[in-house]
């Protein structure tokens, strides 16, 4: 392994300056559950890693109508917060199924997003919650919607020197519900063969006013299927309509065959998981 420096940053300015100094030869470190494994495996070399866990703004977990989640907040800290659990069960779904407790104690949602694998379990749930990513760096700040963040397997919109400070989830509208499910051959500790996140918003009469579906592990990036939104808005949340949404998902994805699953299995799963998560999101929308 190429030797690299370790910097425990304590301010945004310090992270900015280290990243600016090293260009693509430095990266932020949160849980290290991707980064250290990849460095050890020789995937790429770095001259420095910047630990951002000591930056106060990256540790914010603030629920104030909307939820602001700092990029260094571990999954376990987030899902142990009862108010966050109550407000965002669709995010808890994914946080509790990543790795085991050891991984959840260290890994953050923002780092899962920045790792940008199509199988990243937090990315689709964030998309259907309409989350916004706040990016910072020596050259200034910008905000990008989660669905626009990933650009390819392991690739995203971050330029050299940029990093994610926090992610903001809008306050759930009344009548909003969301859910995430993935298919893996084991009960725990595996990478999704396919995953689906859905959110549904119902009006007072029970009609759908919004429905968002995003699919994991079935394309080069998470797949946000806006055609399902077009289909469902204005309709009733019926089994029949959700089966139709599943058919759209089946056609919308572009999976590959690998050791975890075939193209046909992944298409099939996309349909089934879309229907299931729309159903669960609807139950939550009605209950909440």
């Amino acid at each position: 392994m190429h030797p690299f420096d370790y910097v425990a940053a304590t301010s945004i300015a310090e992270v900015n300056s280290i990243l600016a100094q090293h260009g693509n030869r430095a990266r932020p470190l949160v849980g290290g559950t991707d980064l250290l494994v990849q460095l050890r495996g020789g995937r790429f070399d770095l001259d420095a890693v910047v630990d951002i866990k000591g930056v106060p703004e990256a540790n914010v977990l603030e629920l104030n109508g909307a939820l602001k989640m700092g990029s260094a907040v571990p999954l376990a800290v987030m899902y142990e917060d009862q108010a966050v659990r109550d407000a965002y069960p669709g995010l808890i779904d994914c946080a509790e199924l990543i790795g085991g407790i050891q991984i959840q104690s260290r890994a953050s949602m923002a780092a899962n997003l920045c790792n940008s694998t199509p199988s990243g379990d937090t990315i689709c749930p964030m998309i259907v919650h309409s989350a916004q990513v706040n990016i910072t760096g020596a050259n200034g700040d910008r905000t990008v919607a989660v669905e626009d963040f990933c650009t390819g397997p392991g690739r995203n919109v971050l330029e050299d020197g940029e990093w994610v400070l926090d992610i903001v989830f809008p306050a759930p509208a009344s009548g909003f519900g969301a859910a995430y499910e993935r298919f893996i051959p084991r009960n725990e500790m595996d990478i999704a063969v396919a995953g689906a996140a859905s959110s549904v918003t119902l009006d007072g009469s029970g009609k759908i006013t919004d429905a968002l579906v995003a699919l994991a592990s079935v394309g080069p990036t998470p797949v946000f299927v806006t055609a399902i939104t077009d289909l469902l808005v204005g309709k009733e949340p019926t089994e029949e309509n959700f089966v139709a949404a599943g058919k759209i998902a089946y056609d919308a994805v572009s999976p590959i065959s690998d050791m975890r699953g075939t193209i046909e299995q992944r298409r099939h799963l996309s349909g089934v998981l879309t229907r299931r998560t729309l159903t669960k999101a609807t139950e939550r929308a009605k209950a909440g």
Binding site: D5, Y6, L29, G41, V49, A76, G99, Q102, I103
Partner: protein, 156 residues
């Protein structure tokens, strides 16, 4: 060339001060720098949990932590589990229930199980199995490990 990092930390209640290469994992630091070889290496990539230690109150895979990261922190490892009075009840139960064979996974399981019982003394079997899902064992088939944890609960 990178410079070594100066680290001050508390391990098993004792103060440690040492220099470590900035790219060295906590697992390597414990074993190769501090000679605390009770913590084991299985996969070295976060999958097996053999390297589990408690860091600032939470269990982590020490192969996925840098030694330099523990500066100012608190670490508990398997070396701190037994006391002068004797084995920890979990260690005793693992022996009685034959919850180990080769033993490579055992320190990790013990640290994980201890953390669970301290947080949730009444965890049911499902919860115990979920909590220990990040610890792999190639020998026992898990049932004996779960029984040992339940026996510890029953005798607590």
């Amino acid at each position: 060339m990178v410079d070594k990092v100066h680290v001050k930390t508390t391990i098993n209640g004792q103060e440690y001060e040492f220099l470590v290469e900035p790219y060295m994992s906590l697992l390597e630091t414990l074993r190769d720098v501090l000679n605390l070889t009770g913590t084991k290496e299985g996969c070295n990539d976060g999958n097996c949990g053999a390297c589990t230690v408690e860091m600032n109150g939470r269990i982590v895979d020490s192969c996925c932590v840098l030694g330099a990261e523990v500066n100012g922190g608190t670490i508990n490892t398997i070396e701190g589990m037994a006391t002068a009075e004797g084995l920890h009840p979990l260690q005793q139960a693992f022996l009685e229930e034959a919850a180990l064979q080769c033993g490579i996974c055992t320190p990790g399981f013990l640290i994980s199980a201890k953390s669970l019982l301290e947080r949730e003394p009444d965890a049911d079997e499902h919860r115990i199995r979920y909590w220990l899902a990040g610890n792999l064992c190639r020998c026992t088939g898990y049932d004996k490990i779960i029984k040992a944890v339940q026996k510890t609960q029953a005798t607590a």
